[in-house]
């Protein structure tokens, strides 16, 4: 028997079991898919209204901004599909002692805890986001297609997902320290709110420090901004420093969250029998 578990095999089984489960509760699955797609549609409608009054928000024209929104939807749908149900469940696992079982398995505990459920219903948004992207990109003023965009865009979308995941799992892991029902997980929603807007709007005595904090301390501003710029703007050397920084930021975030998670597991107390 090989000594390392097949991580891909385990993940595919998680995905398969989750799909079987979702199909058992079909109505719930459909409702969830529809409600998340409508939420996105409403968001989009809101910005469509805003762009009736103005041509630019902080330098982003209508279709450029739609590319930005599509990128937000794309990244969020991936996070919601693969990571969010698990991070949410972590404090429950701590409360009930279900984490015990995860710790017994000969496989990386963070992997197991982060991916054991896949929420397939959230992938509805992924499809909508791709459609919006396909619609908006050609309509961007002065759009010039470069094959590099097709390579870089997916890469930076995935890096963005990793940053959001890192912040999420590190915050959720605090429930292992804080114990029952207590977690900093909700902060994820407050913090990531800031990532949903172009960096350029953070200016002035309040905006600049916010931009710096959310770029260099908790790097959530690069999550959407970097891939969105790659797709919406012509590729230029000016973007390179931020793009290089995003790679570093992703690596640091993943390492940081790994450290927090391991530290937290070490102090796990387990629930009473």
């Amino acid at each position: 028997m090989p000594h390392h578990p097949s991580y891909l095999g385990v993940f595919l089984t998680f995905a398969r079991n989750s799909l079987i489960r979702d199909m058992m509760f079909r109505a719930n699955f459909i409702i969830e898919a529809i409600s998340s797609v409508s939420w996105m549609a409403m968001n989009l409608g809101f910005y469509a209204i805003v762009y009736q009054k103005t041509d630019h928000i902080a330098g982003w024209g209508r279709y450029e901004f739609f590319v930005f929104i599509a990128t937000t939807m794309l990244i969020n749908s991936i996070v919601q599909t693969f990571f969010m149900p698990n991070a949410q469940e972590l404090s429950e696992l701590v409360r009930t002692g279900g984490l015990d079982f995860a710790l017994l398995k000969p496989i990386d505990t963070q992997f197991l805890v982060s991916l054991h459920r896949v929420n397939w219903a959230s992938l509805g948004n992924f499809v909508v986001a791709l459609a919006l992207l396909g619609y908006s990109v050609p309509r961007v003023e002065g759009f010039e297609f470069s094959p590099w965009q097709l390579v870089l865009y997916p890469v930076y979308v995935i890096l963005g997902v990793f940053i959001l995941y890192s912040v999420m799992i590190a915050l959720a892991a605090t429930s292992i320290w804080l114990g029952r029902n207590q977690s900093l997980y909700d902060f994820w929603f407050y913090i990531t709110n800031f990532s949903r807007y172009p960096m350029e709007i953070y200016q002035g005595p309040w905006g600049t420090p916010l931009r710096q904090i959310f770029t260099f301390v908790i790097p959530i501003l690069v999550v959407i901004n970097v891939p969105a710029r790659i797709m919406a703007w012509p590729l230029s050397a000016d973007q390179a420093p931020l793009a290089v920084f995003a790679v570093l930021a992703t690596a640091m975030s993943l390492l940081g969250s790994r450290w927090v998670f391991k530290k937290a597991l070490w102090s796990y107390r387990s629930a009473s029998s």
């Binding site: 028997m1 058992m24 015990d100 079982f101 017994l104 398995k105 000969p106 387990s270």
Partner: protein, 342 residues
Amino acid sequence: MNAIEIRGLKKSYRVYQKKEGLWASLTGLFQREYRDVEAVRGIDLDVEQGEFVAFLGPNGAGKTTTLKLLSGVISPSGGQARVLGHVPWQRENEYRRRFALVMGQKNQLWWDLPAQESFRLHQKIYRIDTDQFQRTLDELVDMLDVRHVLKQPVRELSLGERMKMELTAALLHSPEVLFLDEPTIGLDVIAQHNVQKFLKHYQEKRKITILLTSHYMKDIAALCRRVVIIAHGDIMYDGSLAGIVDRFSGHKVLSLQFADGRMPSDLARYGEVLEVVEPKARLKVDRSSIAKVLSSVLANHTIEDVSVEDPPLEDVIAEMFALSAEDDQTAPNNSPVPSPQP
């Protein structure tokens, strides 16, 4: 060879002392009082490969904590332990492939899915090759007689069936050491018996090392030659089940049936009167004086029937727990008697 070696193993928890009332709860936000609870207080234990050992003790005695320490779920405050040569709380994959933990009060199977989907997941996690997996699974489901419910969602199974599925899941990777935490809790007599029968058979066949905690004396009498009694975090006894009575009970129970209803009124001079239902009486008599008392009774009264027995094991153990609770009022959960039998 020892499968399990424990030296001076300790675990204490800091517990937040919540006071009653809203005001106290609010002040508790700023000023917290903590108390240290010693769940395990430096135990030493060796278990040989292939032994089937029972942990017996009241609620809060430290049994489950010990099993969790040995499974590496939690780390100790002091002391050492090695299981199959590994330090459990280092959580090495190599160790985690070689043991299993089953908890009677917790469920590790996917609740909404048939158990076989969870089994398939275990196959992937432990990377068991397909032939071997199928063989082990067939063997286990036949032994436990659960083939007919393999395709039923776990939430629709009876408690007994679910426990059998939990056992199957735990044994799929053929562990060398098995920790069982109250595997028969809440089961009816028949399901309990089935689980016992399975465990006995499986252990004899595979010669694996099993550490079992239970409240049910019947589990232990049926399965384990060696019993370790743990109360308030300390080991109080380590030996055979029968040995408990010899060691901890200083008396015997003398049952008498008097002829023609001639029951003497001064029975108490022979020993402590436990029960009188004329013409029968039961007395508690010091072990050392049983011969003297018996001959004196036979000389002075007309006796139709007589028997001398050891007190029931449950009573001896309950008495022992009560004593240890008196010795130690500071320990948590001072419940002196084990849970009632179902």
